[in-house]
Assembly symmetry: C2
Homo-oligomer: 312 residues x 2
């Protein structure tokens, strides 16, 4: 049986602070309908797809913060998207800000879920590598307060057997860390789904702009794909939100590391590729046959030491 997943990477343009979820969901449904016309069976939306990228705003009022979060998914705002995807038999990957836990101890995560073509939520991932900082930082050109608003993900990097293959997820800054892909690679992952919101300039080095940051995005996801012989689908929220620009450049990457599709705009844009999961096999069985080649006895520092410790 062929194992081709026809993936639609649904890049989204900006969502302004003043825009509600209805704006986002209507545009997501438009992208879904395009994907349906193109024959996709999986649509990948970005990180925090339902609102503006709110970690750029410093907020202390709990209800103001929580207004960006979802306690249930699907919910009244998103049900139409879920219903339409199920009606088309299309799986979706969706990033959003999640409130979990109990009423007494609410927990906030930067989350992505994977929903299969029957509408079942088959996977959930909570972002582990939170970038930025935990308190207002006047030295930065703009704020990136993910460490303030989110807890570190508590679900690890699992993979799921669904839609004919083995799928994994990570979110935005996770993609820069080779450990992310490797933990999934050690579970045989065949396709990694990633949403991102990446400012087009470095908040701590403003001369580092979109060209370098696009290079870093591609370098990270291409290396993760190649070194683990997996497809990678990396999808941006792009464009100018209230004066702050986010990178575009959504890509679908082959297990060889080569980019097979790339977004050209800074707006809502669907890119499509037929991803044959069996094309992961060659490298998994040869140069990246982990069982034959990995030498875990020499990797100890990776899990025993967190920070860098230079020699005396």
């Amino acid at each position: 049986m062929p194992r081709v997943v026809r993936v639609g990477a649904a890049q989204m343009g900006p969502l302004q602070k003043g825009e509600g979820r209805a704006v986002a969901v209507e545009r997501m449904i438009d992208l879904l309908e395009q994907a349906h016309e193109e024959g996709c069976n999986l649509v990948v939306y970005p990180e925090l797809a339902l609102t503006t990228f709110f970690p750029r705003w410093n907020m202390d009022d709990e209800s103001e913060i929580d207004a960006y979060f979802e306690a249930d998914m699907p919910n009244a705002d998103t049900a139409a998207l879920f219903d339409r995807a199920k009606a088309h038999g299309i799986g979706i990957h969706l990033g959003y800000a999640e409130i979990a836990g109990t009423e007494e101890k609410r927990r906030h995560f930067n989350t992505a879920i994977l929903v299969d073509g029957a509408g079942e939520t088959v996977g959930r991932y909570r972002k582990i590598h939170l970038p930025g900082h935990g308190e207002y930082d006047p030295e930065r050109h703009f704020q990136h307060l993910e460490k303030k608003y989110f807890e570190i993900g508590n679900l690890g990097f699992p993979v799921w057997r669904t839609m004919g293959g083995i799928f994994g997820m990570c979110i935005c800054n996770d993609r820069r860390w080779p450990e992310t892909y490797r933990v999934m690679g050690l579970q045989g992952v065949e396709m990694v789904l990633i949403g991102f919101n990446t400012p087009s300039t470095n908040s701590q080095r403003p001369e580092e702009g979109a060209e370098m940051r696009t290079f870093h995005n591609e370098l990270s996801v291409q290396a993760g794909a190649y070194q683990n012989a997996t497809w990678v689908v990396a999808v941006a929220k792009a464009g100018v939100e209230d004066g702050f620009e986010l990178l575009g450049g959504s890509v679908i990457v082959h297990p060889s590391g080569q980019i097979v599709a790339k977004a050209e705009s800074m707006g809502d844009e669907l890119i499509v590729a037929d991803c044959d999961l069996d094309e992961t096999a060659f490298y998994k069985q040869t140069i990246f046959d982990f069982a034959r080649h990995r030498r875990i006895e020499h990797y100890g520092l990776i899990t025993s030491r967190t920070g860098a410790e230079p020699p005396e």
Copy 2:
């Protein structure tokens, strides 16, 4: 004090099976003299720089095999190179096949050493990720018998404080494994030195040629550089050895992941770059500040599991 290392990456063209070490050493001295004229203080030679890439030949006779190995370094064949480097005050990185151990239990390694400008051998690395296979394989278009001729390196991935910075080494196929760079990154490495002999076609997929394999070389070393905020110097033995072609494309890579110098020929060629080790600091202190961002509690599989184990 500025910490600029002026590096000469000394790519070498082919060495035929019938050529002795004198041919190699004479050419290495020519490259050293060029580096001296260019003001270099470190010259990086390739993997197994003194002989043809012999793992392509299937041999069983012990003395035939051992003829490619060195019991001492420097030795009579290489003393002139070491003397000249010391006279110029230039450090060298040299890859060679090493016989270690005792007379009763000789051990064979694929080794690289780092010699400082005063002629002291300050570092030794033995290749850990041996590619290829351990027995003659008639299915391959050509042989790659590193697992037959070498033991797995037994020295880990150490780093050394020398020449004003923190240096690490790895060899050829090691560069494709993110664990290699990360173990050194966790020791604060500022420059990783790599020699390689990489066939221009894949022995198990002959349609995969030089273009893809050059892409994989660059992807691996650029990702390793960026994700650990370190300089990487990757140096080829290139060109056609007895009908078998090796990749060129030696590169010097900035801690941003960008290539700052690249060889253009398939022969002996020196490429030079001024590498300011302080340029590793920005990413080490921000996006790749491991102490703030790494989450070793979620990396367990990397050191507890060798091979990939897909879910049921």
